[in-house]
């Protein structure tokens, strides 16, 4: 088990190098000269050249790429933002907490409401309860979250003035962002839970449980839920990962100082170090969350535990097993 975890954590290194490479060369394609835009239109050619030198832009691309990787892995130096002139990591640590709070609250809301509603919907298949939940969830999943955010702002902040329209200095400012992100996470969970439950409900072992004379309620909690949770765990995990990467559109509507907002600003301002560092950070978070999700399968499904603790586990096997269960 420990071996497996260590292996997975070590795997983050090549992922990061890959991510750096991809993003680095994409950003190298960007038009415009950061030095020129930093100095403004009055700058002379000498000033621009000097700026190139301080920013390291006079070095060949490959060397810059190599230096960056070395800096990241030896000094945790993600570069210095052109705009704030601060180490990117410091910037990120200012912006990240907002995103974390939002992501956790939304995921919590999604789990607390989404899973029970999904279970209810599956158990009441072919009744009006199922239809209502199903219609609501397909409707909510089709809403662009930034539009939902705008509509909620219009009603609750502009018309009713129940909540402030921006700013997080008052706790009420959190309500709408969390509601928007949470609704999205909730609908996702409802849909996955429902279809997973429907799949489990027709399994033979549920009939066996009935043949034992077990009560319906107990059959749901004891026999169905755990089996149905594997795809749900994937969904929760990828949802959380995505939210931690910054809910860009939502943060933009509510003007939240979050990671998504930071990265979008960096991209549009051709602030390459900030963008590289931001995306890199997101990739780390994403990979760690995925690792946690994979570990949670092991807790849910004893079949995987045997594979993981057993000596020969190749990632391929694990992937295949997960694919068999419709988890990937």
């Amino acid at each position: 088990m420990a071996r497996y975890i260590i292996k997975r954590i070590l795997w983050i290194l090549p992922i990061l190098i890959g991510v750096i490479t991809i993003v680095f060369f994409i950003s190298a394609l960007a038009p415009g000269d950061p030095a020129a835009s930093l100095l403004g239109s009055t700058a002379t050619q000498e000033e621009i050249d000097a700026m190139h030198h301080t920013l390291g832009l006079d070095q060949p691309l490959i060397k810059r790429w190599f230096d960056y990787i070395v800096a990241v892995f030896t000094r945790f130096d993600f570069g210095t933002s052109y705009v704030t002139r601060q180490p990117v990591l410091n910037d990120i640590l200012v912006y990240f907490p907002v995103t974390v709070k939002l992501a956790l609250a939304a995921t919590l809301m999604g789990v607390v409401f989404g899973i029970p509603l999904g279970v209810l919907s599956a158990l009441k298949q072919y009744t009006w309860i199922d239809s209502v939940i199903l219609v609501m969830s397909v409707l909510f999943i089709s809403l662009p979250n930034f539009w939902l955010a705008m509509m909620l702002l219009k009603v609750f902040a502009v018309n009713l003035s129940w909540v402030p329209s921006f700013g997080l200095d008052r706790p009420a400012g959190w309500i709408l962002p969390i509601l928007c992100a949470g609704l999205q996470s909730m609908t996702q969970n409802i849909r996955i839970t429902r279809s997973s439950m429907l799949e489990v409900m027709r399994q033979d072992y549920i009939r066996t449980a009935r043949a034992k004379g077990q009560k319906e309620g107990k059959i749901v909690t004891k026999h169905m839920l755990r089996n149905a949770m594997i795809p749900v765990a994937t969904s929760i995990g990828s949802g959380l990962g995505n939210q931690l990467g910054g809910n860009m559109a939502l943060e933009s509507v509510f003007a939240l100082p979050g990671l998504g907002n930071y990265i979008v600003k960096a991209i549009t301002a051709i602030n390459t170090p900030a963008m590289l560092g931001g995306i890199l950070f997101v990739a780390i978070v994403f990979t760690l969350v995925n690792l946690c999700v994979d570990l949670s399968y092991v807790a849910i499904d004893p079949r995987l535990k045997t594979r993981v603790t057993g000596k020969k586990l190749s990632k391929k096997e694990m992937k295949k097993m997960l694919a068999e269960q419709g988890a990937v």
């Binding site: 993003v23 394609l29 960007a30 038009p31 662009p144 930034f146 539009w147 559109a249 991209i267």
Partner: protein, 304 residues
Amino acid sequence: MAKLVTPEMEKINKRRMKRKNGKVARSTPMMDAWRRLIRNRTAVLGMAIIIVLLLMAVFAPLIAPYMYDEMDVMNMLKGPSSVHWFGTDNLGRDMFSRCVYGARITLPIAIFTVAVAVLTGGTLGVLCAYFGGQFDMIVMRILDVWGSIPGLMLSIAIVAALGNNMYVLVIGLSVGAVPNMARTFRGAIFTVVDSDYVEASRSIGAGNFSIMFKHLLPNAVGPVILAIVGLLGVEVLCVSTLSFLGVGVQPPTPEWGSLLSTSKEFLNSASYLCTFPGIFIVLSVLGFNLLGDGLRDALDPRLK
């Protein structure tokens, strides 16, 4: 015992008589799925929405009462009325016309994005499943790296770097979607390749070619279609999100997301400007999602 006829039987048989003159059709699984799709109200509603929106895109000049960029300084920021159904924006442009023309921007971008993502991702996935081994391992590792950057973020970075035009937008968005597509294709084919019935047909000496067309494709088609329809909805959302963030289609082109982005400032004063483009986004995503849900039920042979 004489044959027992129940009211339920009569009802079902009557329906059968009406349909096929009483004969049970010997149908292929695909035809079966189609019949089930057609009688699935969700799917039909979804298809109807999509068809209406596509028609709207094709016949935009006939439907829209004004040109999308026709300004009318006398009528700026006017609310919905009989002359301007959705009102006018800050430059006096008719919002209804802009929304109608928006279908010509958002939908094609989303559809082309999906096409590119399916072609590249699908090919990768199929090759992985076909060759397996080292090739599969390497490609999957690359996709792991690729997939650990959130798709939307990658798209934004590409679009920002390569400049704002439709082709770049399509490429940028599809790059974000490729890893998932590749995994879906690969997974779908792997599940089938490992199945007992392929083993069985191989054991009676069926050739690669016949296995490919008789077993692999038809059985892998379900999850793949579902993924494609699902992706269409997602990409409509992505196109508009990108434009909303100011990285995608730029104003004055009336893309729905970019319409929302401009209207954002008028949320207090003229909120109808924010309402209508959003409704069009919701409708198109809803259409694809409903179709997807209906397809999922129709393709599941167990839910006959």
